[in-house]
Amino acid sequence: MHLFIERTNRKMEKKFRGNVRQLLRKLKLNPETVLVAKNNALVTEDEKLDNTDDVKILSVISGG
């Protein structure tokens, strides 16, 4: 999948099959601090992801 992590401004190609919850666990990201977009649409933690998806992990925390 094409993966973008907003807070660290990291883009990467990643082989992954599973759901959003499992991806966040693998990346050690607290689900309370992010929202996830798949192919430019917000999705919930049970959403299935595969290698062709464009996934953005957007930071809920910003500002001061």
Binding site: E6, R7, N30, P31, E32, T33, L35, A37, A41, L42, V43, T44, E45, D46, E47, L58, S59, V60, I61, S62, G63, G64
Partner: protein, 323 residues
């Protein structure tokens, strides 16, 4: 996961709603907060303390939509690599939505930017920045009925916990959807229409509405006590969903008693019944000199002193300050 109200796919969980029903749910929550706590009356002149971040941008949009007229006031602290991008977003948003915007800077008001001020102080950046921001916001919002801030549920729960951890629970009596206990002619009341909205909900609303905002995080945040409390609360929330909401609900149940206790102390003379006027600048102060002037006294040469006290706050003087 399906929407709780229709068969569409959810875009948000806890509660699970599709885009249309999430937007309805969120807007209803903000409207009911305004109504239930009497935050805004029909003819009120409201200023939003805006930064270009998601919280104050969402607030600007909703107050413009539901209240009609609203102005934005922003403070440019002068934080390198951070504030200029958010202010650019704010200018673009205000122009697009026909919202008046005024920007005041630390440089113009105090003679130097925050980054430069911190070189002369041992204090925590957020304590200095927050003091000067609140000072300028209150001064320049005078004439408005209230200042609406983008504080959300996460911000408030952090403040409650921080006050408790600092053994300063009395400070929490000043919290709530409508801030403050002591009324004063020079003090503009502050209201928090996003009070019951989780930060994640505010972010989701901002994304679903297509607001074009940059991701920006203040570089001083890692040094703040608030960020440590925020991270701890997010860890609790992940392990025990509903933690923040329960803390806020318990706090709201205790708040009337805390305010009564505070008012009794005022009646007994333990706390002044009125704010004083700062001996240096004439702005409202709890002590003889306001906190902003105390910080300014510790700065190195040639800083502007805040305006001398006038009801309109227009007189400007430049004083040399020596250490």
């Amino acid at each position: 996961m399906k929407c709780e109200k229709c068969s569409e796919k959810s875009v948000f969980s806890g509660p699970c709603y599709c885009k249309k029903h999430f937007i309805e749910y969120f807007e209803e929550k903000v409207l009911s907060t305004i109504k239930n706590f009497g935050l805004i009356s029909k003819n009120d002149n409201v200023a939003v303390a805006a930064s270009g971040g998601k919280d104050s941008t969402v607030l600007l949009y909703l107050l413009k939509k539901f209240h009609g007229s609203v102005d934005a006031i922003a403070i440019d602290e002068g934080i390198h690599g951070y504030r200029s991008s958010t202010l650019e977003d704010l200018r673009r948003f205000c122009a697009k939505h026909g919202i008046g915007l005024k920007v005041y800077s630390f440089r113009d008001e105090f003679g130097r930017e925050l980054d430069s001020m911190l070189d002369g102080l041992q204090a925590i950046p957020c304590a200095v920045c927050g003091t000067f921001r609140r000072y300028l916001m209150n001064k320049h919002a005078r004439g408005y009925d209230s200042i609406a801030t983008g504080h959300n549920m996460d911000d408030e729960v952090q403040s409650v916990l921080m006050n408790l951890l600092k053994n300063n629970a009395e400070m929490s009596a000043r919290l709530g959807p409508k801030s403050g206990v002591i009324e004063d002619g020079l003090f503009v009341p502050r209201i928090k229409p996003l009070y019951f909205c989780a930060e994640k909900e505010v972010m989701a609303y901002s994304l679903l509405m297509g607001f074009e905002l940059s991701f920006a995080e203040c570089p001083h945040v890692p040094r703040s006590f608030r960020s440590q409390v925020r991270d701890a609360l997010n860890d609790y929330e992940a392990g025990h969903p509903g933690t923040k909401k329960r803390i806020l609900e318990r706090f709201m149940a205790m708040l009337p008693a805390m305010k009564t206790h505070y008012e009794k102390k005022i009646s007994a003379g333990a706390i002044p019944s009125q704010l004083r006027r700062c001996a240096s600048c004439g702005e409202p102060a709890y002590g003889t000199v306001c906190r902003a002037c105390q910080f300014l006294e510790t700065l190195k040469p040639a800083v502007h002193r805040p305006n001398a006290n006038t009801e309109k706050g227009t007189a400007n003087r430049l004083l040399q300050v020596r250490l």
